[in-house]
Subunit: 276 residues, 2 copies
């Protein structure tokens, strides 16, 4: 992990690292915010997985989350959204290829060589950031936006012992049933869709018998993608008595102005779950 | 004023307008944040003038200021930093031409036709935003960053009856004595520098006999431009008992991460001055 920038922010450090990923077989960047409390010892870590077209920087520049993280003593880990580089497969569409990894391990060509974001986020990157930064990796939680909300939900639901809580802003909750997800899964995972269910939050909720982390979702009612791509109603139908809160926020859209408006409540909620 | 976007943020509206500027003889954009309180009636307005290379959007995307403005009931007006467009003179350097208006009325060619940012900010734009938005134009204050800190100081000091308070992040306080300012003033205003003093905060402080608004300045100690371009020591020498606070912030650089860390304190300070 090569530290490529470290900028003081709310008394802590907004860091950015470059590193070689063995899993993705390319160079990657990752941003980590360390609150002032990290100077005294390891702090709990909240993962933020970003959405389509984003890098590791959108959230740290646009969400205004450092203020809350500094108050609460939380680190925030922001990975990139796909493998990157000239040698990595890509597509002209914004919702496929670089910037659109969908947090799966691709099995189809030409994607299978690099597009292994599931393993990168769940297996390789935790070791790298845990070694480079004073993080208490026994206390992790996870959140995300849109495609990254899908990633946070599916990764969190598959690792209920690792994450104290899961939250999402305008997540894709049922990728098997919406155009973004069907396109990505068809491209990366292929047909028939027998492998798709492991990457569909609604399917995971339907089939899981485990004790799951609490889930908090905010969805803007003025989000252009609400009816066709996001479909929170499909997740609401899978709640069935579990600790899952879906809040519809009147007038809010899909942007980081929406995330900024509620990220403080999300981080405070994660902090309470991580305080155990 | 054509409303080109309006996004809900912290219960208020982050708006962006496009309009024809008679003063600048081109099309301009301006961003205005209206807090939730603006739904009930006119609210006080804080101007934010941005720095070199910035547009009207950098502050609204990166500073995280809407959260504080919503709490305090303040609007924030963010103008662009220069005239814009294909027909407008420009320069390849980042510190001259479009994105680098320096808040003066240029008198030299080829700049004089469009580069009249002083008149735009002080005379034309207040009328346009005051008409388009529920702003209490009897209660205004002004702040800015770097080149925009220079603009906030010089415009605020020249209009002590209009602005209740002036604040700045890493401002150019003595443009006549530093490379950025000498280059811009030579280019836009020409030599000999008889017209320069009206646009130099240190000169204005030295010559002013008026009751001035209170001034708050934050300057990062790890700012790369501190010693050569910003020179807060030159302003500190002009305080002479007036209500001017210059805070040196250890470890902070010139970025919006620095602004974000302290903008809440600045806005709370402006709100107190505007509450009279």
């Amino acid at each position: 992990m090569e530290l490529i920038s470290s900028v003081k922010c709310f008394g802590g450090d907004q860091r950015r690292y470059r590193h070689r990923s063995e899993v993705l077989d390319c160079e990657m960047t990752v941003s980590v915010y360390l609150p002032p409390q990290a100077a005294k010892g390891p702090v709990p870590a909240v993962w933020f997985l970003a959405g389509l077209t984003c890098s590791d920087e959108n959230f740290i520049i646009k969400a205004g989350a450092q203020r809350y993280a500094a108050e609460l003593g939380l680190a925030i880990i922001c990975p990139d959204t796909s493998p990157r580089g000239d040698g990595v497969a890509d597509d002209e569409a914004y919702d496929l290829g670089q910037g659109a990894g969908f947090y799966v391990n691709a099995t189809r060509e030409p994607w299978a060589k690099h597009f292994r974001m599931w393993d990168y986020i769940t297996a390789e990157l935790p070791g790298l950031v845990g070694e480079a930064c004073p993080l208490d990796m026994q206390r992790q939680s996870i959140m995300g936006h849109s495609m990254g909300g899908h990633g946070a939900l599916t990764i969190g639901l598959t690792h209920p012992d690792r994450f104290a809580a899961i939250s999402a802003f305008a997540p894709i909750v049922a990728p098997m049933q919406v155009p973004w997800g069907v396109k990505a899964f068809t491209t990366y995972l292929g047909e028939p869709p027998s492998a798709w269910a492991a990457h569909d939050a609604c399917q995971l909720l339907r089939s899981s018998q485990a004790d799951l982390p609490p889930i908090l979702i905010d969805q803007g009612e003025a989000d252009n993608f609400l009816a066709e791509q996001l479909r929170p109603d499909l997740l609401e139908a899978e709640i069935r008595g579990r600790d899952i809160t879906v809040r519809r926020q009147e007038g809010y859209d899909h942007s980081y102005f929406f995330i900024a408006s509620f990220v403080g409540e999300h981080l405070a909620w994660h902090a309470r779950a991580l305080a155990v």
